[in-house]
């Protein structure tokens, strides 16, 4: 019973400070929808239409849009923006390791491309 009361208290404390109102939820939804629509616009209209070529610039744009979407989901839908600073740091700082891991593995991949590629491949004329 005691623990239930404790849960109750904590839950309520949280409900009091800035939460997500219905209006806010739909606004974030439209941001997400707009970002996804922008990705599709780039992929279908610009790249498929031949306006721009697939390449580093396009890929970086996709990744920035993805990270933006991820921010909106984590900050607003998962409510992380409204938690205490200590908690935000606790769950997010470990992703520094992931950034390091990405740099490490992509470097490794580039190395493998230059050194282990005995497999056959054919020019594609279609």
């Amino acid at each position: 019973m005691a623990s239930q009361q404790h849960d109750h208290a904590v839950g309520h404390e949280e409900g009091h400070h800035e939460g997500m109102t219905k209006g806010k939820i739909w606004r974030v939804f439209f941001y997400l929808l707009a970002l996804t629509a922008l990705e599709f616009f780039i992929a279908l209209v610009l790249v498929h239409g031949g306006v721009i070529q697939k390449g580093l610039g396009v890929n970086i744009t996709y990744i920035i849009l993805t990270l933006l979407k991820a921010y909106y989901i984590v900050a607003y839908f998962m409510h992380l923006k409204f938690e205490t600073f200590g908690f935000i740091i606790t769950v997010s700082i470990v992703f520094l390791f992931i950034i390091y891991f990405i740099a490490l593995m992509l470097t490794e991949g580039t190395y493998m491309k230059g050194h282990f590629n005995p497999f056959p491949f054919w020019p594609n004329n279609s």
Partner: protein, 242 residues
């Protein structure tokens, strides 16, 4: 001297001075967050390996050419449309979940039930779409450890429709393995999420949270559900767009 003593005796009330949770988050919710962080590591490892393989190969299948069917509508010619529908479904179900959480804050049982049902339907639709896409690729010959093959025909010819640049069997094989492993692992997470949502819906209907006085459980399962959506955002970018 006397001032020093009084300073020592002073009760500290800062966030980190003990006596209460510095995070001001309920225990179960913290544990859900920590689980999600570890799960994010697993997905990151998968996606980083995908990136490594892509960087390591001189050529790679063109996603626009591999994924261009809409089940029951068109067999080819519509890149990204079907996965666009799937993405929309998952974002939509994330919104209904957050609306369920919001209704839970107001202890509005009826609204929680309604939004939870909507979320479950969204999840089932997503898994259904994924099953259709897997079936389509499987019919084409893609599976774990297998790529389209025709007897007596060079892979160069069989695989040509899936590549924009040079053709490689090894790239196609790695693509197939990683596609089914990563979307499979994600689909497994969605399925578990649907199951959790159904359990939570049952508990809501049984008035468990009403008696407990708080709908915190909806919030915890909601965190998991949003995480599944979050992972899809990344899978979508790295498998279908880049």
């Amino acid at each position: 001297m006397s001032t020093t003593v009084s300073q020592l005796d002073e009760v500290k009330t800062g966030r980190w001075n003990g006596g209460r949770s510095p995070f001001n988050v309920e225990y179960g919710k913290i544990m859900m967050w920590f689980f999600l962080v570890s799960d994010a590591f697993t997905f990151s490892a998968f996606l980083i390996y995908y990136g490594t393989q892509r960087f390591a190969h001189l050529t790679w299948p063109d996603p626009d050419k591999v994924f261009q069917s809409i089940p029951f509508v068109a067999d080819h010619g519509y890149p990204l449309v079907f996965v666009g529908i799937m993405t929309f479904i998952l974002i939509m179900s994330s919104v209904t979940m957050v609306l369920a959480v919001e209704a839970g804050h107001r202890n509005a049982k009826k609204e929680v039930v309604g939004w939870m049902i909507a979320t479950i339907i969204g999840g089932l639709m997503f898994v259904g779409c994924q099953a259709l896409e897997w079936t389509h690729l499987h019919h084409q010959g893609f599976w774990w450890g297998s790529i389209p093959q025709q007897e007596g025909v060079s892979p160069e010819v069989t695989l040509a429709p899936y590549f924009s640049r040079e053709i490689s069997e090894v790239s196609a094989l790695q693509f197939a393995n990683l596609f089914f492993t990563i979307t499979g692992f994600h689909g497994f997470h969605v399925s578990v999420g649907i199951l959790l949502n159904i359990i939570i819906l049952g508990m809501t209907l049984a008035n468990t949270f009403e008696r407990r006085g708080t709908y915190l459980m909806v919030e915890k399962v909601g965190l998991y559900w949003h995480f599944v959506d979050l992972v899809w955002v990344f899978v979508f970018t790295f498998f279908y767009l880049v």
